[in-house]
Structure formats: structure tokens, C-alpha cells
């Protein structure tokens, strides 16, 4: 077990290293960077004071150095102008666009993103699993067809469109604004109970909108998995023992059908972060999605690089968690399974 964890930690570290290189060099691929673009713009306007500041920043962050040196400094394995100060040391760099340290730009957005996505994951499972069980145990019944139909609609509806529609009608019918994650007056305030309440009430619509497609997909897959398992012999055995239908179902086929979803946890997290960018924009949610988008557009390299690395860490950690969960839940995997 310990050997396994060690081996996994090493692979994870190597993976992250490769991802960091890819992320950095892809961001640097287009010619120029945020500051040189800005300097060119300022030159055109003849503002020499700002140019001096921009040139100072260029030297400060070593943007005049070759890309590989910039990468190593960003990573924190090569001394920059301030000595060793990079991701490894916990220095996430400077956002040129916001003119603030990256940590101040993404601070709140990071955990709000996690909160929204966590709510979405819970929502998907809470809604999808019961519907899928209903639909699988009553295959080809009227209820199954209705669930299937709604599922297809959910799959086919673009979530940003749904967000726009909800935005409009919520305002028109109930006179409430559902944009943002809390009422505007709380922006920049410290966290009070009133702000938390506001947050919770604002969370509902984004959760539904972001989660709808995932819920529909999960209903379809869970139903298919469960149908496979319901035909298996061990379920007949359970019934032949005299177990009631509900208990037999939950203890045996249902548990078997969960495996693919646990294996999916690792994929789920980054997908939700990047998949909800459009919805976040439409609903003006203060999550990292829109920040990432604008950072990539303006080549704000440290900000974009940090957010992408954050997603990568989530993925790798998610994979580890799902592997550990699988091993814990499924003895065939835990014991190296013969068949």
C-alpha cells in the first residue's frame, strides 16, 4: 500500500511537471507577451511614465530572458531577480492585467469555483441516480420513456442558452436577479451570515444550469450499466435467497454499477471547471472560468498558467482519489484481481 502510494506520488509529480511545461510553452506560443503588447500600445499614445513601469516589470519578471529560463524561474527551480521564487515556493506570480499578485486575483474565485462545482456534482448524483434506478428497473415502461425523453432534452439543450432564458424569466416573473453568486451589495464585504444566505440562494440556478447536461448523461449511462448488471446471475441468486427486491437491488447490482462513476471522478473536476466557462460568463459568476478566458486572451501568462496548473492538480488528485476509492470498494482491484 505504501509502495503503491509512493509510486503514484512520483508519477503524479512527473505528470504535473510535464503539464507545467506544456502549459507554459503553449501560453508563450503566440508572439509577444502582455507587457510588450502594452508597451507598444503606450508608445503609440506617447505615455513614457507608464512605459518605464512596464519595462521595470519586464525586468522584474525576467520577460526579457529566453522562454525556457522564464519557465524555470516560474517553476521555482532557477533563481530569478528575487532569488528562488516560483510555484514550488508558493509564489504564484503577478497578474499584469489586474496589476495585482495572482493570489489576490483568484483568491475568492478559486474556492467559489470549488463550491459551485461541488454543488453541481452533488446535484447530478442526487437527481440522476434515483431516476436511473427507476428507469432501469422499469425498462420500457411509460416512466422510463418519459425519463429518457427528458434526458435527451437535457443533453441537447446548450447550457448557456438555458442560463439566458432563466436569467430573463426569473427577472421578469420574480423580479430577482440571478447573476453573480451573491447580491451586489456584498461584493468586497467580509463573510457575514447574510452574505452566506445570499450565496446559497444564488447557487441554485447555476447548479441546475451547469448540472443539467451532466445529469442527463449520467441517467443514460447509469441506466445502461444497471441494465447490464440486472441481467447477471448473482442478482438472481440474491433474489433466490429471499431478499426483497429493493434490498437485493441496492446491495448487489447497484453497487456493481457504481464502478465506472467512481473511476470518472478524476475527469469530472476539470471538466466542470472548463465546461462551465460559458455559463459563468452569462451568469457573471465570480469563478475562475471567465478569469482564465480573459487571461488567455490578453496573454497574462502567470495568471493563465496558474489557473491551468490548478486544474491539472485537481485532475491528478482526482485520479488518485478515484483509484483509492475503487480499490477500497472493489476487492477485485484491491487484490490484483484474477478475472
Amino acid at each position: 500500500m505504501i509502495r503503491f502510494l509512493l509510486r503514484r506520488t512520483v508519477t503524479m509529480a512527473v505528470t504535473l511537471l510535464i503539464i507545467s511545461a506544456l502549459v507554459f510553452f503553449i501560453i508563450k506560443l503566440p508572439p509577444g507577451d502582455f507587457l510588450t503588447n502594452q508597451i507598444a500600445e503606450l508608445r503609440a499614445q506617447g505615455e513614457s511614465a507608464s512605459i518605464a513601469k512596464a519595462e521595470f516589470l519586464i525586468r522584474q519578471y525576467g520577460l526579457d530572458k529566453p522562454a525556457w529560463q522564464q519557465y524555470l524561474v516560474w517553476l521555482g527551480v532557477m533563481p530569478g531577480p528575487n532569488g528562488f521564487s516560483g510555484l514550488l515556493q508558493g509564489d504564484w506570480g503577478w497578474s499584469f492585467e489586474y496589476d495585482k499578485p495572482v493570489v489576490d486575483v483568484v483568491g475568492d474565485a478559486l474556492w467559489l469555483t470549488l463550491l459551485v462545482n461541488f454543488a453541481v456534482v452533488i446535484f447530478i448524483h442526487l437527481i440522476a441516480i434515483p431516476i436511473a434506478i427507476y428507469s432501469a428497473t422499469r425498462q420500457y415502461s411509460v416512466g422510463d420513456y418519459i425519463a429518457t425523453f427528458i434526458g435527451y432534452i437535457g443533453l441537447a439543450t446548450p447550457s448557456f442558452l438555458l442560463a439566458l432564458i432563466l436569467l430573463y424569466y426569473m427577472n421578469r416573473w420574480f423580479g430577482i436577479s440571478i447573476g453573480g453568486l451573491y447580491d451586489p451589495q456584498y461584493a468586497g464585504e467580509s463573510w457575514t451570515w447574510a452574505k452566506v444566505q445570499s450565496l446559497l440562494s444564488h447557487l441554485v440556478v447555476p447548479t441546475v444550469v451547469i448540472g443539467l447536461g451532466g445529469t442527463a448523461a449520467m441517467i443514460r449511462r447509469m441506466r445502461a450499466n444497471l441494465l447490464d448488471e440486472l441481467g447477471k446471475q448473482y442478482y438472481v441468486t440474491a433474489k433466490a435467497k429471499g431478499l426483497g427486491p429493493t434490498k437485493a437491488l441496492l446491495k448487489y447490482p447497484f453497487r456493481m454499477s457504481l464502478n465506472p462513476f467512481i473511476a470518472d471522478i478524476g475527469n469530472l473536476l476539470p471538466q466542470l471547471v472548463s465546461g462551465s466557462v460559458l455559463v459563468s460568463l452569462v451568469l457573471s459568476l465570480p469563478t475562475v472560468g471567465p478569469i482564465l478566458l480573459s487571461a488567455l486572451k490578453s496573454q497574462d501568462q502567470f495568471l493563465a498558467g496558474f489557473i491551468l496548473m490548478f486544474v491539472a492538480v485537481l485532475t491528478v488528485a482526482g485520479m488518485l482519489v478515484s483509484d483509492l476509492l475503487l480499490a477500497w470498494l472493489d476487492p477485485r482491484i484491491r487484490m490484483g484481481g484474477a478475472r
Partner: protein
Amino acid sequence: MEAPILSVRQLTVDFSTDAGNFRAVDGVTFDIPKGKTVALVGESGSGKSVTAQAILQILSKKARITNGSLLFNDPSTEGSIDIAALPAESDAMHSLRGGRIAMIFQEPMTSLSPLHTIGDQISEALMIHADVDQATANQRTMDVLNRVGFPDPKRALRTYPFELSGGLRQRAMIAMALITRPALLIADEPTTALDVTTQAQILDLIKELQVETGMSVLLITHDLGVVANVADEVVVMYRGRIMEAGSREEIFRNAQHPYLQALMRAVPRFAMAENERLTPIREVKSASLATADAPQRVQPAGPILKVERLTKSFTLRSGWFSGKAREIRAVSEVDLSLPAGKTLGLVGESGCGKTTVSKMIMRAIPPNSGKVLFDDGTGPKDVHKLEGEALTTYRRSVQFIFQDPFSSLNPRMTVYELLTEPLRIHDIGTSDERYERVKHLLEMVGLDQGALRRYPHSFSGGQRQRLGIARALALEPRVLLCDEPVSALDVSVQAQVLNLLKDLQAALGLSYLFVSHNLAVVDYIADTIAVMCRGYIVEEAPKSSLFRNPVHPYTQALLAAVPDPDIDRPLDFTKLRTGGFSQPSAWPEPFRIEPGEFGVMKEIEPGHKVRMGRLTAREAA
């Protein structure tokens, strides 16, 4: 006379399918007397399993009991209950199911949940029906596991099904069924998936437990050999109806119904005369076989296929987390030789390495050491050193017939595509020539041309296996490797396929390596038989001398364990009870082989060789 435990009266079960209603069980009437074993015999699709499921009301959703009654006279309570009148999910039905009537199934692997321990699954059966706490249930579980022959019941509680051998899994199933002390045990093909020696032990166990508890057994099987050995009464079913019923004596001594007589004739037996042919229930006529000629080819001087000191080890990682590697020797210095136009039978129980040998001959996996020599008339060549054109020619000369006719044919290809695929791969003929060839192949295996546009799912198991044979023949091979080609088929269909293989050999001059666990089948088809155990060939002989004079203790045990459909030749259960036949280190001298050793083959009469242990080897030196 005492009232029977279960009286089935005019039982009728209908399936409603898209293609309309289908009557799977049609007015079946029989009794299961107290403390006796009733065998329900029939081919697949005869309705025997559906009858059993109806008794427990665990029929699939599409099926319904439309008529008849199932009167259950529980000896522990007064009066009788009509099971057919109870709703399937009523409390009364729940308490009967698993409590008073228990069931064990064919496939002990898939019948147990792989995610739960044996202990959990067995104690659950008790806790549903008796008001006991987990500790008591565990104690009872250990008792019953001990009774069914688990070596370490305490450890078994925490064992998962996939950690056990097939035999132990089936014992766990039996423990699960018996922990509630049911009045009736329904055993649906309980030994079909097991090796013969294990089968004999499981049958023996069921018999013993029956004597102990006085329960009745409804045994569902297609194996007349099993019936002859354990049943008190026999009910023969065909297409949902009872063809014949009576005591074992009546049925075997004096079968009345033509169907039963035909079924008896279709089973290969040891006592068959030299050139006696099996009579399938539905004979398949092959139009072109009688006139087919073997292609004119140079015959090799020696054997067409020879295997020399073939050895293969596999490395197993014992666990996901530990990463420790273990080496298992699957095949140990195997020597075989297959003369042209003959059949070599390779017999052994599951896991003995026989499939590994055939895969190495096919060059699907490389051996660790040893050679496979193939001689097409130009002298023997090492198969594992062939390259380029020579390898392609070899691939064309040696073809494979698989065990499972359901999974070995791609369900998305038509028969025409399936049969022409080998020709297309080897780029043989124009499309018109291929069409002619395929038509001819179908005729040879006794299928008509209408089959060409159909997909595999519209054929029965036997027809699919014949398609598999036709595909193997497409390239005009010289050697066919048959890996358990009939073990997934019913007896009547098995006879068809075996006869077809025999006829093809006679007509086309093919050589077969016939791998099987079924001794009677191998006896019917093979000229020479090699018995394999734990990667060793332990005995090799022409079939007459192997069956007349088996020398090796493993061969003897194997022969003794085959149930013969002849009530005058019952199984000797006491002899089989000892076990340990497949442990080379447990064989008596001079056969004992210590781990890591190979022993030597010694010829005791012409063509009859037996593997001896180290001591004998030294004497010989």
C-alpha cells in the same frame, strides 16, 4: 404413501416477446417425493430451467405462470401452499424462497457477487430467514462451510469468490443454500461448469447432505451420466413438455419414448465399439462431403506437427499494492506428436495448461523454451522461427476452432463476410471464386445457402459451431486445433458436430489436435490421447490402451470420475473422496514429482508412455 414435498400440476409458463407469445413450459406435471432426488433432463430450451424458476417465482419479467399449480407440502408445517397462487413479491414467497426452497446455479463464479465476501453472502441468507445476530450467523456460516468441506472456514468468511477455485465456489453456493436447512434444494446444472473430479466430489457432497438433512433435491441437468449416478426418479422434458418420467431403473433399462432413446444414443460412452457412430437426434446431411476430395499435397514423412520440450511460465503480480512478482509454470516440457490425418486428444482439467499449449502451437504466444515443428512435406521447421512468406503459409495451414460459438463469431458480420474474411486476408481468389468457395464450405458443414446473408445471432449454438468450422476450413488447412469445440453444446448437437469433424477428417485428410476436458468425447474422436495435469503430460497412449490400462494415478482418477450414463457402472464416490489427484507432489511413488522437477516419460508398452518421478529417473540412468 407419504405426500410429496412438491406436486407440480399442469404447470404452464408463457413468455410474451416482440414476436408474440411463446409457451416455454406446457402442462408439466410431476412430483418430488420427500428425501428423494428427481432429475429433470433435457436439452437447452426444453423448459427445464424455466420450470425451476417458476417454482421459486424468479422468472424473468417477460414470463408468467399462466396455468397450473405448485403444491408445496412443507414437512415443518401442516398443510400445503400453492406457490403458483402467491404473488412473486409477497412476504410468504420471500420466506419460502431461500428459506424452505433453496437453489444453486450452474456458474458458481457469476452466481456470487464479486464485491462481497463469502461470509457476508452466506450469513445474509440465514439472517433473512432467521432472527439471529451477526455473530451467531457467522458461527453458523462457519459450521456450514466446514460441513461442505472448506479447509479453513474462519478464513473463508473473509474470502472473496474470485479467490476460490471453481469447486470451492460451488461449495460456497451449496453452503449458502443449505444454511437455512431448506426442505427442497433445486440444483440447476450444479456441476456443468466444473471439472470431472470436482463434479464427482460435488455430487457426492449433495448426496451426503441429502441423507443428513432429509431434504429433497430437484436436479436439473442435461448430462445423462450425472442422472444415472444420483437420481432416484427421472423426468425427461422436450420443448416444454414431459416426454417420459419414471424411476431411474425404468428410464435407463427400458426407455420407451423415441426422444429419450435418441438422447441415449447421442451420448459418447466408454463402452462403444471401435467404429460405432453416435446418432444425433437431428442428423445433418452434408451434400458435398461424400464427393469432396482431399487436396493433392505432399505428405510429410514423419508427424505433421511435433512439439518438443515445450515450456511456458507466466509472471503474476500478486497484488496491485505489493507489486511482488510470482512465476507460475503453466507448461512443463511437453512433448506431443500429431501424425498426418490423425487425431491427437489432449485431456486435462481447467488450468492444466492445455489451452496454453494450443496457443503456442498457433504461435499466439511464445514459449520460454522448446520447439513446435511443422512439416508440410518439405521437412520439419520450427514454427516460432518462421518469418514472412513461410509464416503466412503456416498460418494458412493451421486453423483454430474455438470453444464458445457465441463469442467467436463477430455479431456485426454476415455469414458471407465471416467466411470470406480468411480468404480476403490471405488475398485468395476473385470475389466470384470466393462466393463459390463459401457456398461449398456451407454445404460441407450441412448448412444451406440461405445462411449467407444472415447474422450469427439467428443461428443456434450447433449451427454457429458449424459456421466456425466452415470458417476454419476456408483456407484449406492441414491441421485444425480444436479447443473444447463441443463443451458449450447440448449432447444431441455435440454428436452432430463430432460426427461432422470425423467426416471432414475422412474426406479432407485433416489432422486434429483435439483439446477437451471430456474424456468420453476424446475417446470417441481421438486416435491417441495425451493426459495433461499441472503443465505435465502424465500419460500418453493410443486410446484403446489408455482406457484399458490406465497407469498414472491421475489418469485413473480422471477415468473414475466420469459419470457413465449406464447404471451398471456407477461412480465410486469413496475412491474419489480423497482428493489430491492433481497434486504432482502428492502422487504415490514412483509417480511423485517434487516442485521444480520434470520427471521423465517412460514407455511401458508400445506407444504407451507414463511420466515417472525422480527416483525412477535415477534408476533408468
